[in-house]
C-alpha cells in the first residue's frame, strides 16, 4: 500500500542521511589512506588522499549538524528526533540542549569535536600527521557508524537522527495520510535539562572526552612507528588540555546537579559521574609519569599504558552510559538504543590496539637500568600515578557490578548506600595523593639532598597542622578521623605548592602552572569535604525530628517541612513563610521568604526570598522540582519543593473552558427575599441592597411597552473594607422572565436577581458563593551547604593552573623543535 503523506518535508532528512553515509565512507577512506601513508611515508599521495577523506568527513559532520539543527529549530515533527526531544514552546537557547539530549546528538557532538581536533592535528602535527590521524579516523569511523541506522543482515547498525516519526513508531494514526496535522507538538525536552548549564556542560564534557583520543593516538603512534621517545613532547600539552577540559566539564556537571537537580548535593557517586571521572584520574596519572619520564627516563611503560587506557576507559564510559546496562543502578543514564553490540566492538578494538602495541613493542621501550632513588621526584610521581590508578580500580569495580552480573549471570547488587561506600575508599586515596602532592614538591629529579628535603617538608608539615587545626575547629569537621586527615593533607598540599609558587615569583616561572593547579585541587577537595560532611537539612520538623547517628544522608525522618501559604514557621534560625507563587508556564515558582530575626532586639538581621520552581510534567514523571539557592560567601541555603498543592500546578497548564458563569464552580445558592436597604452577610464580609434602577438597558435587547428591565444595585463590602459595586438585572419580556447574573470575581460571589414579588414588596435575590479556596501549601526541603564556594573556587584555580602548564609545555616543545631544526 502506498500512502501519500501530506505536509512532510522530506528533503532535510534525505540530505542528512546522505551525509551520514558519506561521513562513514569518508572516514573509512581516510583511515585506509592514512594507514598506508604511515606505512610508506615517502609516498605523499597517500597522505593527500587521507586529507581528502578527512575534509570530506569534516564537511559531512558539519552538514549533519546543520540539518539536524534545522529540523529541530523548525519543529519538523515528521522527524522522530525533533518530536522526541523538542516542542514548539521550547525557548531557542534550549533547542541547543534538545540537540544533544538524545544519543544521536551526543555522538554527533563527539564527532564534531573530533573533527575540530583533527583540523588542528592536520595542520600542526607535521611528521606525526599520518599515524596520529589513522587512529583518529578509526575512532571517527566507529562514531559515524553509530548514526547510520541501516539494517544489514538483519541487525541494525547505529541509529539515525533522521529517522521519520512514522518509521520509528507503530501508532495506528501514523498510517493516516494526514497524520502530521494531528501531531500538534513534540514531546519536549526533559525539564531537568532546561537549564543554562545544560547548554554549556555537554559540549565541554564531550570536548574533554574527544580530546582524550589525542594522547592515545600519540602514544599508539609512537609505539607503532617505533619513535618511542619522541611522542611524549607533543603528547604532553594535549594530555594537559584533555585533563583541563574534562575536569572543567565534570565540575560543570556537578554544578548543574547542584543547581538544577533535586538530589540535594553536588556529587552522588552515580555511575554516570564515576565513569567520567575515571579516565580523568588515569590521564592525570599519565601526565605526571610523562613528566617523570621526560626528566629522568623512568616510567616509560606506565606513561604509554596510562595514555592508552584513558581513552579505552572513555569508550567504556560511553558503553556503560549508552547501552542501558546501568538501568537498575543509575537514575540518569541513556536508554538503550540497541547498539550495545556496536559499542562493545568499538571498545574491544581500542583495547585490542592497546594490548597489541604494549606487548609487541615491549622490548624496544626505553628503560633505564639504574634504580630510582627514594629521594627523587620521579619515584614519588610514579607512586602517585599508581595510587590514582588503584583509586580508579576501586571505582571501576563497584560501578561495573551490573556488567559483571551480565557477564557471569550473577545477581550481585551494588552497595546499599553508595555514597559512604565510595567516600570511605576515595577519602583514603585522597589523603595519600594529597600527601604525595605535598612532599614531592620538595624533591628534585634524580637525586635530592635528604637533609634539605626533611627540613622543608617538616616546616610545611608543622604549618599545615596549625592551619588545618584552625579550619577543622571552625568548620566542625572534627567528628571523623577521615575528615581530619583529608583536611590536613589538603592544607599540607596547598602550603607546599604555595612555596613553589613563591619561588615562581622569584623568577622560576616554569613550575607555576603545576603549583597553581595543585593548589586549586587542594581547595576543591577542602570545599567538597566540608560541604559534603557538614551540610545539614535545616527543614527539620521539630516534632518529627529523630536524631540519627552516623553520617548517612538518606531520607531521615522529618526532612520535609509542610508550609501553608502565609503562615510563618520557625525553622532553626530562620522564620520562613510561603508568600505565594507565580506561574510562568510550564513552571510554577514558589516564593519562600527567609527571615532571620534577632531574638532580643527583634531586629531583622537578614531577609531574602528564594524561588525554587517545579513543573508538573506527566510525560517526564510528575512534579519535577528545581531548587532555589541563596549563595552566601561562607555557605549556601538550598531549597527544593518536594510536593505542592495541585491547584497552583493546574494553573500552569492552559485552561480551555470558556469565560463566564459556570454554576458548577459555586456552592449551593442561598435565596433571599430582600428589600432596598437590607444588609446581608456572606463569608468574607457583607453586602447592602442600595437601590433599584427601573431604566436598565441590556445590550442587544429592545425594550417593549410591557417589558420590565430592573437593575438591582448592590454594594459588596469585604472584610478588608474593599467595596465592589455589582448590578444583577431582572428582565420581563413578552411575559417571559429571565435574569442576567453578575459576579464579583475577587470575592468569589455571584448574584442573580430572579424575581420581583409585588405582593410582598420584596425582591428575590440568589447569592452564590464559591467554595473557600483551599489554602495553598508546599512541602519542601532545605539544606545548608557550608563553604561550598571553596569547591567552585578550587575548580577555577585548577583550570587556570592547567592553562599555565599547557602554555609552558607548548613553548618548551616549540623551543625544542627550533633547536632540533638548528642542529639539523
Amino acid at each position: 500500500m502506498d500512502v501519500k503523506f501530506v505536509g512532510e518535508n522530506l528533503l532535510p532528512g534525505q540530505i542528512g542521511q546522505f551525509f551520514v553515509i558519506l561521513s562513514f565512507g569518508a572516514a573509512l577512506f581516510s583511515l585506509i589512506s592514512y594507514f598506508f601513508a604511515a606505512k610508506n611515508p615517502e609516498e605523499t599521495s597517500w597522505k593527500k588522499l587521507g586529507r581528502i577523506g578527512f575534509w570530506l568527513n569534516a564537511l559531512s559532520i558539519f552538514v549533519i549538524g546543520a540539518t539536524l539543527f534545522y529540523i529541530i529549530y523548525n519543529h519538523l515533527f515528521e522527524y522522530h528526533y525533533a518530536w522526541a526531544h523538542s516542542s514548539t514552546t521550547l525557548p531557542t537557547h534550549y533547542i541547543i540542549s534538545a540537540f544533544w539530549e538524545g544519543q544521536e546528538g551526543s555522538f554527533w557532538l563527539w564527532m564534531f569535536w573530533q573533527v575540530i581536533l583533527g583540523i588542528v592535528l592536520v595542520f600542526k602535527s607535521k611528521s606525526w600527521e599520518a599515524p596520529v590521524m589513522t587512529f583518529v579516523m578509526l575512532c571517527q569511523l566507529f562514531l559515524s557508524s553509530m548514526l547510520i541506522g541501516v539494517e544489514i543482515f538483519g541487525s541494525r547498525i547505529g541509529s539515525s537522527p533522521f529517522i521519520l516519526l512514522r518509521e520509528a513508531m507503530t501508532w495506528p494514526i501514523l498510517n493516516d495520510p494526514n497524520y502530521l496535522s494531528m501531531i500538534k507538538d513534540g514531546r519536549g525536552l526533559n525539564p531537568l535539562l532546561q537549564n543554562y548549564w545544560m547548554v554549556i556542560h555537554p559540549p565541554t564534557l564531550f570536548l574533554g572526552f574527544a580530546s582524550m583520543i589525542v594522547p592515545f593516538t600519540y602514544a599508539a603512534a609512537g609505539l607503532w612507528q617505533k619513535r618511542y621517545k619522541e611522542w611524549i613532547n607533543p603528547g604532553l600539552p594535549w594530555a594537559l588540555f584533555a585533563v583541563m577540559i574534562l575536569g572543567a566539564g565534570i565540575i560543570m556537571g556537578s554544578f548543574w546537579a547542584y543547581e538544577a537537580l533535586n538530589f540535594g548535593g553536588f556529587w552522588a557517586w552515580d555511575p554516570v559521574e564515576n565513569v567520567s571521572i575515571i579516565p580523568w584520574f588515569t590521564l592525570i596519572a599519565a601526565v605526571h609519569v610523562m613528566i617523570a619520564f621526560k626528566n629522568s627516563g623512568h616510567a616509560y611503560f606506565t606513561s604509554a599504558f596510562l595514555c592508552l587506557i584513558s581513552f579505552v576507559l572513555v569508550i567504556y564510559a560511553s558503553y556503560l552510559t549508552r547501552s542501558g546496562i546501568l538501568g537498575e543502578t543509575s537514575v540518569h543514564s541513556f536508554t538503550s538504543l540497541g547498539m550495545s553490540g556496536q559499542l562493545i566492538i568499538f571498545n574491544l578494538t581500542f583495547l585490542g590496539l592497546m594490548i597489541f602495541f604494549l606487548v609487541t613493542r615491549k622490548k624496544g621501550m626505553p628503560s633505564t637500568q639504574k634504580e630510582e632513588e627514594i629521594y627523587s621526584r620521579e619515584f614519588w610521581l610514579f607512586i602517585g600515578a599508581l595510587v590514582l590508578t588503584v583509586a580508579c580500580v576501586q571505582m571501576i569495580a563497584t560501578t561495573s557490578i551490573p556488567v559483571f552480573n551480565a557477564l557471569f549471570g550473577t545477581k550481585v547488587a551494588p552497595p546499599i548506600d553508595p555514597i559512604p561506600h565510595y567516600n570511605k575508599w576515595q577519602g583514603a586515596f585522597a589523603v595519600v595523593v594529597m600527601l604525595l602532592t605535598a612532599f614531592t614538591q620538595f624533591l628534585k629529579y634524580k637525586r635530592s639532598d635528604s637533609k634539605k628535603f626533611w627540613a622543608a617538608t617538616l616546616a610545611s608539615f608543622v604549618f599545615a597542622i596549625l592551619i588545618s587545626a584552625v579550619i577543622i575547629y571552625f568548620t566542625h569537621v572534627y567528628t571523623n578521623v577521615m575528615y581530619i586527615l583529608i583536611t590536613f593533607s589538603a592544607v599540607f598540599c596547598i602550603l607546599a605548592n604555595l612555596r613553589i609558587l613563591g619561588d615562581a615569583f622569584k623568577g622560576k616561572w616554569r613550575l607555576a602552572g603545576s603549583a597553581v593547579s595543585h593548589i586549586g585541587f587542594g581547595l576543591l577537595l577542602i570545599g567538597a569535604l566540608i560541604a559534603a560532611a557538614t551540610n545539614e537539612v535545616i527543614s527539620v520538623n521539630q516534632e518529627n525530628y529523630i536524631a540519627v547517628a552516623g553520617f548517612d544522608k538518606v531520607e531521615k525522618p522529618g526532612e520535609n517541612l509542610f508550609l501553608t501559604e502565609g503562615e510563618p514557621v520557625q525553622m532553626g534560625e530562620y522564620k520562613i513563610t510561603y508568600v505565594g507563587d507565580s506561574v510562568a508556564a510550564p513552571n510554577v515558582f514558589y516564593k519562600i521568604k527567609y527571615e532571620k530575626i534577632d531574638e532580643e532586639t527583634g531586629q531583622m538581621l537578614e531577609s531574602f526570598i528564594l524561588t525554587p520552581f517545579a513543573q508538573n510534567n506527566p510525560q517526564m514523571g510528575g512534579l519535577i522540582g528545581t531548587p532555589g539557592t541563596k549563595h552566601f560567601l561562607t555557605h549556601d541555603i538550598y531549597t527544593l519543593i518536594t510536593a505542592a498543592a495541585s491547584d497552583s500546578q493546574a494553573a500552569a497548564t492552559p485552561k480551555q473552558e470558556g469565560e463566564g458563569t459556570n454554576l458548577e464552580e459555586y456552592d449551593e445558592p442561598a435565596t433571599y427575599k430582600v428589600a432596598v436597604g437590607d444588609t446581608l452577610r456572606y463569608r468574607n464580609g457583607y453586602y447592602v441592597i442600595e437601590s433599584l434602577d427601573h431604566n436598565a438597558t441590556v445590550e442587544n435587547m429592545s425594550k417593549g411597552e410591557n417589558d420590565l428591565m430592573v437593575k438591582m444595585k448592590i454594594k459588596v463590602v469585604s472584610a478588608e473594607g474593599k467595596e465592589y459595586p455589582v448590578e444583577p438585572v431582572f428582565v420581563l419580556k413578552n411575559n417571559n422572565y429571565f435574569d442576567f447574573p453578575k459576579t464579583v470575581e475577587e470575592q468569589g460571589l455571584m448574584f442573580r436577581f430572579t424575581k420581583v414579588l409585588p405582593a410582598d414588596k420584596k425582591l428575590e435575590l440568589m447569592a452564590y458563593q464559591k467554595p473557600l479556596p483551599q489554602k495553598k501549601w508546599v512541602v519542601f526541603k532545605a539544606i545548608k551547604f557550608p563553604y561550598i564556594n571553596f569547591f567552585w573556587c578550587g575548580t577555577i584555580v585548577m583550570t587556570i593552573g592547567f592553562c599555565m602548564a599547557i602554555y609552558r609545555r607548548v613553548k618548551d616543545g616549540r623551543n625544542k623543535q627550533n633547536r632540533e631544526e638548528l642542529v639539523s
Binding site: A84, M169, T170, W171, P172, I173, S181, M182, H298, A299, G327, E328, V331, T335, E371, E372, I374, F379, F382, I383, L386, V387, V390, V393, Q394, A397, T398, I401, K411, V412, A413, P414, P415, I416, D417, H421, W425, N541, N544, V554, E555, K556, P557, G558, E559, N560, L561, F562, N616, P618, Q619, M620, G621, G622, L623, I624, T642, A643, W777, V779
Partner: protein, 139 residues
C-alpha cells in the same frame, strides 16, 4: 628486584584485596520474606499494587508515605517511606526499595523507580495514542 617492581606487586595485592572487600560491601536483591528473616538493610525489587490506596497526607505529616508492593515472589507487603511521595510512583513499572523490615511493614530509606517515560519510550507513546484520536479525528 627493583624497588618499583616491589611496590607494583604490593599495590596489585592491595587492589585485589580491595576488590574482595568491595564485594563484601555489596548487597543482594531479595524479597520481603527474606527481609523478614534477615532484619538487615537490603534491596527489594517489585511492583506497586495499584489497586490499593497510596497514603500520603502532607497536611498531617509531610514525611509519611505508605503504599503496598508485590515483590518478585508476589508477596504483598506494606511499605512505609519517611519522606514525601515520589510524584510518578503511580506510573512506575518497577520499584527498587532500600530498607529493612520492621514488624510487618517494610521501612524504606530510598525508592528507585523505573518509569515507562524514562526507560521505555515506546510504551509511553502507546498511552498517548489512545488519548490522541479524540481530538485528532474531528477534522
Amino acid at each position: 628486584m627493583k624497588k618499583s617492581s616491589i611496590i607494583l606487586i604490593g599495590i596489585i595485592a592491595i587492589a585485589i584485596a580491595m576488590i574482595l572487600v568491595i564485594y563484601t560491601d555489596s548487597s543482594t536483591y531479595s524479597t520481603f520474606s527474606e527481609a523478614k528473616e534477615k532484619q538487615t538493610e537490603l534491596y527489594v525489587v517489585g511492583v506497586l499494587n495499584k489497586d490499593k490506596e497510596l497514603m500520603y497526607d502532607p497536611v498531617k505529616d509531610a514525611n509519611h508515605f505508605s503504599f503496598y508492593m508485590y515483590d518478585n515472589d508476589s508477596t504483598e507487603c506494606q511499605v512505609v517511606f519517611n519522606g514525601s511521595k515520589p510524584q510518578d510512583i503511580e506510573r512506575s513499572e518497577q520499584i527498587v526499595l532500600t530498607g529493612k523490615m520492621e514488624g510487618n511493614t517494610f521501612h524504606a530509606s530510598k525508592i528507585l523507580m523505573k518509569c515507562p517515560s524514562k526507560y521505555n519510550q515506546d510504551q509511553m507513546e502507546v498511552i498517548e495514542t489512545t488519548a490522541e484520536p479524540k481530538t485528532a479525528f474531528v477534522n
